[in-house]
């Protein structure tokens, strides 16, 4: 028997191929940031915006339309009510939020390994939301169906770079408006075990979402923990409507999270300046989040922002331009000063197809979002055409970018191993590091390795078909869907969900509103 110490055998080709397919990166349910926040305003600038927002809230006020419950709650808390207009004393909303809202919260997934913490130095990456159309290279642009919806749930489930299943990833227009929420929520539960978002298009649909979540998580668990994070938009400028408020109220009452998001196409829905836009965003978000804290003190709220600049030439929304990037950066700082989680950003673009415009506009917003300190990054993957279209290839391209954001935010390792002094001592001047012991020990996880980018020689690329990025992404999503395996779901829960859906669907007629 040999006394020599052997390197343990790795199993040759068979094991290597299996290991490479599995990838070397361990799945992490969210990103923990280890670099500073990028901020562009100093204390004086941020304080000015906060002062102006307070003036806006007091002098102009915010309308809560067709929703007397909000008016009553604000009145009892000491705000001044004029019709449906609420005027807030200076500091009123901030004080209510800061004394009640959590600075971070855990959103539970049905697989606890996928629970996400939202807030603090963490970033959770989430698919795009709300497109009526889908697009792929084979079939072009068409209305989304529930089949497309399921496909995107599966792709998000399989992507190690996305942490959340999202919400209305695309609008399944082949299902009646008043019943499609059942199929969407069921798809998130059945085909993924990452956390997901609830329906917000009617208070009743929010209730259905909560009921279905109870079947999965248990009634007591749900009342005590957050299992849903849902998107509540303000009707900018300075207006909230009964649909959104109704849904928000249902979620808050059950202790579920809402992100109060002024949706701003600057120039149309807010003034044309960055300073004016951020002032309005802060005022609207403060009013919405204060309402939630009055409904249920302590219910998680996220300060949301969606900002685009409108082309003054045509009126069309634009993306990936510098000004909305500045808006996002400033709002991130304002959210941290307020002490609540921040939602913004994503892979936003105006391009119709996954081309160069799509790639650079999306890269601009993705990186700006990461630097700005976004905690919940809705629209990370798939977004095309200002959100009108969900792209299969674009989804794959964005998910690759998402993986890079995670590495970027991790910051810089300064451990002894990372300092690599031994590598210098081993190689010295004029050699190369490819064979160094330090390289051998570290190469596999050393650099982000894109599964999508082609870095091969021109000749190899040509031999393999001269595929551009979108064509490679096309192959990738098809391969992923082919390999998809559903996560295990307790058959009793599955049955209960299907029974609930069948019963509820039979209780009322199909309607398209």
């Amino acid at each position: 028997m040999s006394e020599r110490k052997r390197r343990s055998r790795a199993g040759g080709r068979r094991k290597k191929i299996a290991a490479r397919e599995q990838g070397t990166r361990k799945y992490r349910p969210y990103i923990e940031r280890n670099i500073p926040y990028f901020e562009i305003l100093n204390e004086e600038g941020l304080a000015l915006i906060e002062k102006n927002a307070d003036i806006l809230l007091e002098e102009i006020g915010v309308e809560f339309r067709d929703f007397p419950k909000a008016l009553d709650l604000f009145k009892n808390a000491g705000a001044d009510i004029d019709g449906e207009r609420v005027h807030f004393p200076p500091g009123f909303c901030r004080q209510i939020i800061q004394s009640n809202a959590p600075s971070e919260y855990t959103q539970h997934a049905r697989n606890p390994a996928n629970n996400v913490i939202i807030g603090g130095r963490r970033t959770v990456l989430v698919p795009a939301y709300g497109s009526p159309f889908v697009r792929d290279l084979d079939k072009g642009r068409r209305y989304a169906t529930i089949e497309d919806f399921r496909n995107f749930v599966k792709l998000a489930y399989m992507s190690p770079n996305l942490h959340h299943s999202g919400g209305t990833i695309c609008e399944p227009v082949d299902v009646p408006v008043n019943k499609r929420h059942f199929d969407m929520i069921y798809s998130h539960i059945k085909y993924s075990d990452k956390p997901f978002m609830g329906s917000v298009t009617h208070p009743e649909r929010a209730e259905d979402t909560v009921s279905m979540a109870k079947l999965v998580f248990g009634e007591t668990f749900l009342e005590e923990n957050t299992v849903l994070t849902s998107l509540i938009n303000a009707n900018s400028p300075l207006t909230f409507d009964d649909t959104m408020l109704g849904a928000a109220t249902v979620y808050a009452e059950h202790n579920q999270a809402t992100m109060i998001s002024p949706f701003i196409l600057a120039g149309a829905m807010s003034p044309v300046t960055i300073a004016g836009t951020v002032t309005q965003i802060l005022a609207e978000a403060l009013a919405g989040m204060a309402y939630i804290q009055l409904v249920k003190p302590g219910a998680p709220v996220i300060f949301g922002t969606f900002a685009s600049a409108v082309s003054m030439q045509s009126g069309a929304p634009t993306f990936g331009t510098p000004e909305p990037g500045h808006v996002m950066t400033i709002v991130g700082a304002l959210a941290r000063r307020l002490g609540v989680p921040f939602r913004s950003g994503g892979g936003l673009c105006a391009s119709k197809v996954p081309d160069a415009q799509a790639a650079y506009e999306s890269a601009n917003t993705l990186q700006a979002s990461a630097l700005a300190g976004v905690n919940f990054m809705l629209h990370t993957a798939g977004w095309l055409e200002g959100g009108l279209s969900m792209g299969y290839e674009k989804f794959i391209m964005d998910a690759d970018q998402a993986g890079m954001l995670a590495v970027m935010l991790q910051g810089v390792d300064l451990s002894e191993n990372a300092q690599a002094m031994d590598a210098f001592r081993e190689i010295g001047p004029g050699g190369h590091f490819l064979g160094a012991a330090h390289t051998q020990a570290n190469f596999e996880s050393a650099f982000y390795r894109s599964e999508l980018a082609d870095n091969n020689s021109f000749e190899q690329w040509e031999e393999e078909g001269s595929f551009d990025c979108a064509m490679r992404a096309n192959l990738k999503w098809k391969e992923m869907l082919k390999e998809y395996e559903a996560p295990k779901l307790d058959p009793a829960i599955d049955e209960a969900l299907l029974e609930f859906i069948a019963k509820r669907k039979s209780e009322f007629e199909d309607r398209d509103y």
Binding site: R6, G11, Q440, S457, E459
Partner: protein, 236 residues
């Protein structure tokens, strides 16, 4: 992963394996870059009466062919290929004197260098490594090599292949200077000339009068093996 590791952590006693199993195991060990194991396997095969040539071709070169394929396909990474080539070299060191004794030829021989004015050699080194992995004997004359340097090396080693490398657009035309001189001296056709480097392409390879432009180290190895084999067959 942990269970699969256990399966392999047990020491495999190479001497207990049949010839066929041993060769299979050597493919794995080459793949995993285990130099000592390759040396041991080489010695065992020789002690069982295998000729050096047979060990070279059926165990080492065949094993490195798998490494080359998986490198090309993006499964193996550069540092892993270097480890595999290093393990191969361990086996070669044992076989070399035996091959010389019997007069058996290596798969091929090559003189390789970076051309005059250019000191970039990482790519050239990788090509040399891959060629050694393929069973070639490689004579590396280093960087900044002049016509005289290349000619002296060709005279001394009588290689099958001359390889020239350049990274700069300002140094790559020197390849033509070398080849033109070979034509002048009437020795151009005595050698297979391969050229490579980032700024080259196929057209440039033709322009300087090389036999082939090779886009990367894996291709260089494959092309060199194929062309030497073909030349030996046609002259046989």
């Amino acid at each position: 992963m942990s269970d699969s590791n256990e399966e392999y952590e047990e020491d495999i006693i190479l001497a207990d394996l049949s010839d066929e199993e041993l060769v299979e195991q050597m493919f794995d060990d080459l793949y995993d870059g285990l130099k000592e194991e390759i040396e041991e396997g080489t010695n065992i095969l020789l002690s069982r009466g295998w000729s050096a040539e047979k060990v070279l071709n059926e165990a080492l070169v065949a094993g490195m062919t798998i490494v080359g394929i998986d490198f090309r396909d993006g499964i193996l990474f550069v540092p892993e290929v270097l480890m595999a080539a290093n393990a191969m070299k361990g086996g070669m060191a044992i076989l070399k004197p035996l091959l010389a004794e019997t007069g058996a030829k290596p798969v091929g021989t090559m003189v390789i260098g970076t051309v005059k004015g250019d000191i970039h050699d990482i790519g050239k080194n990788l090509v040399g490594m891959m060629l050694e992995g393929a069973g070639f004997e490689v004579f590396d004359i280093g960087i900044n090599s002049s016509v005289e340097d290349f000619f002296a090396a060709m005279e001394k080693h009588k290689p099958d292949v001359l390889g020239m490398s350049a990274l700069l657009t300002t140094t790559m035309p020197y390849m033509k200077v070398v080849i033109d001189e070979m034509v002048n001296k009437g020795i151009r056709d005595d050698y297979i000339v391969l050229v490579g480097g980032a700024p080259l392409n196929e057209e440039f390879g033709e322009y300087v009068g090389a036999d082939r432009y090779c886009r990367d180290s894996a291709e260089a190895a494959a092309v060199a093996v194929a062309m030497v084999t073909e030349r030996r067959q046609s002259s046989a």
